[in-house]
Assembly symmetry: D2
Homo-oligomer: 335 residues x 4
Amino acid sequence: MNVGVIGTGAIGTDHIRRLTGRVAGARVTAVFDVDTARAATVAAMAGAASHREADDVIDDPAVEAVLVASPGDTHADLVLACIAAGKPVLCEKPLASTSDAALKVVEAEVTYGRRLVQVGFMRRYDGGYLGVKTALAAGRIGEPLLVHCVHRNVSVPPSFTGDMSLTDSLVHEVDACRWLLDQEIVAATVVDVPHSPLALPQLRDPRLVLLETERGIVIDAEVFVNARYGYDVRCEVVGTTGTVALDAPSTGVVALEGGRVQALPMDWEARFGQAYVDELQAWVDAASQGTADGPSAWDGYAATAVAEAAVASRGARTKVDLAERPGLYSGESLP
Amino acid sequence: MNVGVIGTGAIGTDHIRRLTGRVAGARVTAVFDVDTARAATVAAMAGAASHREADDVIDDPAVEAVLVASPGDTHADLVLACIAAGKPVLCEKPLASTSDAALKVVEAEVTYGRRLVQVGFMRRYDGGYLGVKTALAAGRIGEPLLVHCVHRNVSVPPSFTGDMSLTDSLVHEVDACRWLLDQEIVAATVVDVPHSPLALPQLRDPRLVLLETERGIVIDAEVFVNARYGYDVRCEVVGTTGTVALDAPSTGVVALEGGRVQALPMDWEARFGQAYVDELQAWVDAASQGTADGPSAWDGYAATAVAEAAVASRGARTKVDLAERPGLYSGESLP
Amino acid sequence: MNVGVIGTGAIGTDHIRRLTGRVAGARVTAVFDVDTARAATVAAMAGAASHREADDVIDDPAVEAVLVASPGDTHADLVLACIAAGKPVLCEKPLASTSDAALKVVEAEVTYGRRLVQVGFMRRYDGGYLGVKTALAAGRIGEPLLVHCVHRNVSVPPSFTGDMSLTDSLVHEVDACRWLLDQEIVAATVVDVPHSPLALPQLRDPRLVLLETERGIVIDAEVFVNARYGYDVRCEVVGTTGTVALDAPSTGVVALEGGRVQALPMDWEARFGQAYVDELQAWVDAASQGTADGPSAWDGYAATAVAEAAVASRGARTKVDLAERPGLYSGESLP
Amino acid sequence: MNVGVIGTGAIGTDHIRRLTGRVAGARVTAVFDVDTARAATVAAMAGAASHREADDVIDDPAVEAVLVASPGDTHADLVLACIAAGKPVLCEKPLASTSDAALKVVEAEVTYGRRLVQVGFMRRYDGGYLGVKTALAAGRIGEPLLVHCVHRNVSVPPSFTGDMSLTDSLVHEVDACRWLLDQEIVAATVVDVPHSPLALPQLRDPRLVLLETERGIVIDAEVFVNARYGYDVRCEVVGTTGTVALDAPSTGVVALEGGRVQALPMDWEARFGQAYVDELQAWVDAASQGTADGPSAWDGYAATAVAEAAVASRGARTKVDLAERPGLYSGESLP
Ligand SMILES: [Mg+2]
Ligand SMILES: [Mg+2]
Ligand SMILES: [Mg+2]
Ligand SMILES: [Mg+2]
């Protein structure tokens, strides 16, 4: 399948490398980036054409499917263009900058009548999360009641500001919990906590967020993007008869002076690198059938809507005002 | 040191067995229980006298220190009588049924002028908690920002009702966090969560509670007294540069069909049995010097006050209205 | 790259599925199996031709590289034919049934003058083993002195008999240790141990084997192919200043009655599935350049020679009589 | 019970501190050490008399039981004197410098007709080992087939020389395995391995030892007394249907840059401190009844005999030539 890639920054280039060298059935044939020099270099590396405009990638008759990895505020329009062109698209999260914009994508896809959009929530492809999902589905812990989440990064670049720990980081917990629990999140509360003096003040880092699902399950999620010591993602679902927790992959236990050390990854590439490959493989498999699988436009919309409610909450429980879910998205998960 | 024990139920008898067979420098010479037959049996076992009234134990001239393990609503008056008699006393938690009653104990002890009271918060003597305390004191994680607590019991007896998961269970987290962080808890919020159908409805089990310290650190604590699968106590303190977590003792890892199993204790006796012994040893050591060490009457008062705020909160952040701490309690911890 | 596959049993079919659906840059275009019906079915599934003879696959002008997954006693001749045809070949272990036969492959490849052969020791591609390798290379444990290995299977089929726990199972430890330590194994001793009554008597299961490297490092390896409880592979290298141990991937920790359970895989597919994919990708990448990477014919020869010494040892230390290593194999590892 | 202590070096003083401050029912009333100044200081600390000769402690009519913590070559004679005096004695390991001398103690006790001797194998009182014992007794792993042991110290003092890693360290594994498996060890082989350049050459450190029980179970034991990184004791028993492994206690898991660190103890005091207390309590409990419990003179003899065989083995399997076990020792364990 011929893939066009829009956005050849770090993430886009990583995706191109995976599509080219780790995924079956895909070839990158066209790219675009506002940084035309960068685009040309990456295009040469991949043996692809470098186009003048993002839309040229989508309109390129040789391109059968599109991967969108440009800045977040360009996502919605590009995905709409893909839908208009009838081409499957993998859109990095977020699907859109606002839930309104995301909802427009949902509506366009519903009008189109078939799924074309997959959103880049790669955790659904991680072995650890899949193990939790399997345990839940098998009823091993009875009925879920609570979820405890932790999402810690070593640090963030200066461009990571404002409420991005909600709109860019927490959304992973939002999607993972919606998927694990098979239900919508209907309310969000950001709890006021002390902020690390090692983080920029405007980040108000860490954040502690309470999320509430349609059946009342409460999720507490710590998002700490300057945790310094490592990239650490945890998730424990507490049920009526037991609990199940995400188990992180590791690459060896070293016993050295002081104790037994289990190495932690320092970034998401180390932690979720394989999940990205598997995400792309699943996308290529579905897209080459003209459709999409995995996290949908609806999932992208819901995650954005929950993050918006969290941003708005400022300490008070805030309802998530979701649209009614179209039948197109009633398939594999969520009733 | 001759010890008198008031209350020879399960906990009192366990304490007598430890004082007699596991602790240096103590002898149980007098006991009382409202169940006189039970008291007589236990007295015979310990080689102690069985008295007619609780006060007779306190007034017994041979008794040098008193252990109070009777029902919680009798604690405050008994401890007051011990102070009046100038005898060191170990009082099982809670120190009193209400913070007002607990404050009276504090005031009496302040008037007496020297510490005589130790409250039975045994976790301060647990090797795991001591390890966390040591790591914090050594600055290994920088400045504490957040604490995540879990407190799960297999199940509770029918007598465990109403808000006891706050007044009897959560108080352990309250005391442990005050001690670990060296600061008061000034607000409490019970978050509404779904309740397990396997627990009695009036318990509203599990509970999720947010606690806030005087310096703004937020503690989220899950208390789940019908968790079914085991007795599981966890605590992770998140700091600016790392985290430290309680590591549970274990008694062997068995690899059996399905996986590697790390045995969990099924009750607090299995988990904290050694902590109880060490608590008693510390008490005997201090009491034989005519004073008290470890958790103080003030600690008992503060824990009760926080639990009261939690009970009152019903979903809204509720301030803990603490008295001013007397100088008597300004010693080893808390400024 | 067009791949021909010889042998479409379970392992061959798994490899075809991976080449087709999980690996970049490969297509299966020809297959052969003695079971012609099976071969036809698999060929249809993969969109490949089904040939009458194994040699027809090798000789097929469209086939650019060959994967050999037929029974072990056919391997050496097929690999020799691939070398004669100048085609890169991935040969499932063992490279040959005897070290003499394996040495003939080595000699043929040396005569050919360039590496064409990769042997299927997939553990070299496992994230856990790679972590151990990295720690060793970084000198984190000082100089290696001892290695403790465990290799346990749930059970084996009736066709797994005689000394196969040495020739088919232990060879994985042999290759992994040679690779981790960068040195040859020069002696082997099978220690007499009690055998499980739950295994067929002729398997003498478990086995305990002592291996000795050219620099004197001793490896103790337990191979237990009827361990019942799970598929469990462990490896700890003990150095002068620390140790490093393989850390198994997991898919979730479940807390259930009795304890905290870390799921164990039940077979090698679950444990090393990703390693197989990465092995194939590495092979395709090198083969499409007309050469081979990873475990070489020499590695296959050495592993077979060590297993032979172990079989011959019957309790007495037995030297491994290795040929001199040709310069062709002096590249990336082993001096 | 009045205890006399012979030997007030580091271990003797630790025991006195425990007897005085952590154990119920004991008082140290007399001490002896060849270093009379040291003895006087310790005696003053404990409120005990300081005697001129070791025998004076044993003969002191106020002394009801004796603890022997003097150098190993004095143990046998002192224990014989205790038996002659009819006084219970706790003898630090080894019971004697040679198995012949140890056998004389056994014979003297048999002649006396009742157990008076307990040998200081404290691991039998460790919660971790007790957990393994419980799992084995419950049949959780089927029938034991193999045992893997590791015994690592950070370093040893210059006085630790020659074969002491066999006679002083390995004996703990010998006793623990005899006790866990309920059977004698009948053969020992020291395997030649590379020695750490960081240890004194004459120590030939680490050692790898194979032990064989009367029913053929094989134990491989690594003893490494200059392992540098920590004090690390491990034991895994492999059975027909599962395995059980010792789980080390910990005092907190710290997540810091680089990974999750589980603290390791740096010496046996940190690892087995509680086991020593429990050992002493068990001894006091039995001695105050005029008898002994726990590891017997026979156990001390057997451990010494196995260590002797190991020392003699020099790479060849060497039989342990055990005397016939007297009926006195047929009680709780070993048939
Ligand atoms: Mg993503
Ligand atoms: Mg208590
Ligand atoms: Mg293989
Ligand atoms: Mg000892």
